[in-house]
Symmetry: C2
Subunit: 200 residues, 2 copies
């Protein structure tokens, strides 16, 4: 709860909203419930958040932002593009799996909210495609990847790995065969992307 | 309802169970509710189905069997493997989309049941991998595909197209961009699989 005399910040609202979401589920992620959790008036929260839809978009946006920061660092790193591309997707898959394993209630609550937060999710997907395209473009320029359209190929790599990072598949991630499937998909994509002689 | 003097068949039980599932949801897919819908005793149903878990496995198995029949025909057809592989996945995607669009309540009920019907789903996935591997093997033999491991490549193609046929993604199938994403994934995989000179 914030000190009574300090002004309420948007970050405090979002931290409280995440806690409400974890403890009481997505139905309770409303301005009224978050104001109650913070011990402030509805009006104080409404000064920062116009309505329930905006609150939910902000909650989802904050959750996705936590995923993106390490991925941006990998995409901006120097080094051969094929390795960086794999590191990017290993990191994406690992953060999704960790969240599914550590806090399944919160992940389930987020999945319910996501249905009503199209703009935050679209922004997230666009940025993921952008980071993937950035690494593929570097690979085309350095000659490790063929002359593909980086954005189309980036979209393809993201879609083709959905089973390994999309929360809709979280129940499959405990299957010991999931890593073999990921390696099979990766090998097939690299056979398609990589320049130079084929081994087959 | 079957004639009172005719013996009850397993098929009648499964047709009634599907109807119960569609109308009342997955919680009602029990031996007691199916017996009530058929106007027969519980014992008459128990003669065919040992318990609720077996009933659910049979319901899921029947639903998946309806998906597999046309796919088996495509895999067994003559013709160049790359085209047949595309037809196989076009057919898989189209039957899943049609079911999601025509009968969303039934699809949702099936998705809930699937969580408890691991063996029926595993059989379905194994057969899909098998059909895909059969077509890829033919392509390797005719020289249109590179010398890949057909089973690993089949598993990769099935995993990489999950977004387009796995019911967990049904909400995305109305997105007009979904076909572009499917074509992007397909192109990347064919670049990896196809023998001969690359265009890039």
């Amino acid at each position: 709860m914030p000190p009574a005399d300090a002004p309420l910040t948007r970050e405090q609202i979002l931290v409280a909203a995440e806690d409400v979401l974890r403890r009481f589920g997505p139905a309770k992620a409303t301005v009224v419930d978050v104001a109650r959790a913070l011990g402030v008036s509805h009006a104080a929260v409404y000064r920062h958040v116009a309505n329930k839809a905006e609150l939910r978009d902000l909650i989802i946006g904050r959750w996705l932002e936590g995923i993106m920061a390490p991925l941006r660092a990998i995409a901006a790193r120097p080094g051969p593009a094929p390795q960086r591309l794999r590191q990017l997707f290993d990191a994406l898959i690992s953060v999704k799996r960790r969240r599914a394993a550590d806090d399944p209630e919160l992940l389930a609550a987020y999945r319910t909210l996501v249905g009503g937060a199209k703009s935050a999710v679209a922004t997230h997907v666009d940025e993921l495609v952008g980071l993937t395209a950035m690494v593929i473009r570097a690979g085309v320029e350095e000659g490790t990847f063929r002359k593909v359209d980086p954005v189309a190929a980036g979209r393809a790599v993201l879609s083709a790995t959905s089973r390994f990072h999309h929360p809709a598949h979280a129940a499959e991630w405990a299957d010991p065969a999931i890593d073999t499937a990921y390696n099979d998909v990766w090998q097939l994509m690299m056979d398609g992307l990589c320049a130079g002689q084929r081994s087959g």
